[in-house]
């Protein structure tokens, strides 16, 4: 994952590219914009992983929408 977080940027570590795309699509359906980024491999514990970057203002919404869709991010960073 990038270590150069901009202020107000949050990141949810998802895992595979497919799951990241699925999560992005589900968030888009809820009118939440998120970008796919590659997570910092040194922070995932298991090597490469994909993550979603989004505005921290949407953090609660992102967590709720993903949870309701059955997507469980491995971790959340930023703020």
């Amino acid at each position: 994952m990038r270590n150069d977080f901009k202020s107000g940027e949050c990141v949810a570590i998802i895992g595979s590219m497919t799951q990241a795309m699925r999560a992005q699509s589900i968030l888009a359906s809820a009118a939440i914009r998120a970008s796919i980024v590659k997570a910092d491999s040194s922070k995932t514990g298991s090597g490469c992983a994909y993550a979603l970057s989004y505005s921290c203002e949407q953090d609660d919404n992102v967590r709720g929408v993903l949870y309701n869709a059955g997507i469980r991010p491995r971790n959340f960073y930023g703020g």
Partner: protein, 383 residues
């Protein structure tokens, strides 16, 4: 040239398919799911778009359960070998392609499993779905774990009643695996409604995509062992393959140009309409069958059904010789056993098999008239 071998692979492809493949190669052919630069992301987006198109076409809400494979054979092998356990019993139909029969036969020969072949009564015009289901039910054993069947035969017009068989399998707790090599894009399929656990299909036949773009679609929650292991683009430090589909089953780089082409093939199928495509092919074969049945010495197999495939022989002329003679008229058909020893045994075709005609969405009435004329000439004048 008159191409009537769409059961082997569809030809020609819609313009958009070849254009998108070329555009992919020129503009966005990064490695999907590897890295996060612009080309890798663009390729990943196209792959995901195709997963969504496939899931949507077959009634699944889970694009992540669409797993790409080289072809239907690879898909079936992955599902079969990844799901079955030592001592399992398997049921398969008497119309199966070798893509199903050979893996099962090998596993049985090695003592890993046992199998039985259930009848489809394809030669009997009076057969109902209940007849087939009753026959299946009689063959189910306590350790029957999987039933595999073709949706539409690759050698004749027989179509199996998936909804009824799926309901039976679901009731009995048996995994239901479908080989949709001849039906995907030609006959509507709803994996949820038909209670299909794994749908295996090619991209290069009825879905009008390029070769190398096969896939299987797993029921949500179903997991299988992997057939091959390797890079998955994530969890790179772990020795095990990831647990999640589709990456669990997709070790190595995907063929992005082929999948991009498939995406356009499915778009074309959507535009024409699956039911319209199937109807067009059946109408052509209805015309062909009516004409062929009027020619002395011609035998048409399963004439009580009309499907996208028509199988015939000319008495006294080996099937391969008929094929070679038709090739001189510029007509492409497939002769022999069509990789379906079971199916040919069921239909009792003679040594040498038979001649298969399989029109596609771009086939015309003129194509069929030319074929009829060529067969009439062969019957009258010999080869």
């Amino acid at each position: 040239m008159i191409y009537l071998d769409n059961a082997a692979t569809s030809f020609p492809k819609p313009f958009g398919v070849t254009e998108e493949q070329a555009r992919c190669m020129r503009q966005y052919c990064g490695n999907p799911g590897r890295g996060s630069h612009a080309l890798a992301l663009a390729a990943s987006e196209k792959i995901y778009e195709c997963r969504c198109a496939i899931a949507d076409l077959f009634g699944s809400a889970h694009p992540e359960n669409v797993v790409f494979s080289m072809n239907t054979t690879m898909a079936l092998n992955t599902v079969i070998k990844g799901s079955l356990r030592l001592g399992d019993h398997v049921l398969l139909s008497d119309m199966e392609h070798n893509a199903t029969f050979r893996p099962i036969y090998k596993m049985a020969r090695e003592g890993y499993l046992s199998y039985d072949i259930f009848p489809t009564f394809s030669n009997d015009p009076q057969t109902t779905p209940s007849d087939i289901c009753r026959a299946i039910e009689r063959m189910i054993k306590p350790h029957t774990r999987m039933l595999i069947c073709v949706h539409a035969s690759n050698i004749c017009s027989a179509v199996l009643p998936l909804a009824e068989i799926g309901a039976l399998c679901h009731r009995k707790g048996i995994l239901f695996v479908v080989d949709a090599a001849q039906s995907a894009g030609v006959i509507p399929i709803d994996v949820e409604g038909m209670q299909i656990d794994a749908l295996c299909a090619p991209g290069h036949k009825g879905l009008l995509g390029p070769q190398g773009s096969g896939f299987f679609l797993l029921r949500d929650g179903l997991s299988a062992e992997t057939l091959i292991e390797g890079g998955s683009g994530y969890n790179s430090l772990e020795g095990n393959m990831p647990n999640e589909a589709p990456e669990r089953y997709e070790a190595g780089t995907l063929p992005t140009p082929a999948i991009a082409g498939l995406c356009e093939g499915i778009r074309a199928v959507r535009r024409y309409g699956v039911e319209n495509i199937g109807r067009h092919e059946r109408e052509l074969n209805t015309f062909l069958q009516e004409r062929l049945l009027k020619i002395p010495r011609v035998k048409v197999y399963t004439p009580h059904h009309i499907g996208s495939v028509l199988l015939f022989n000319i008495e006294g002329i080996p099937a391969d010789s008929v094929g070679q003679a038709l090739a001189k008229y510029g007509i492409c058909v497939r002769c022999g056993y069509h990789c379906s020893a079971l199916g040919h045994a069921t239909l009792a075709t003679p040594a040498g098999g038979a001649v298969r005609v399989s029109p596609g969405i771009f086939s015309t009435w003129a194509d069929m008239r030319t074929l009829v004329g060529a067969v009439e000439n062969l019957c009258k004048n010999g080869i």
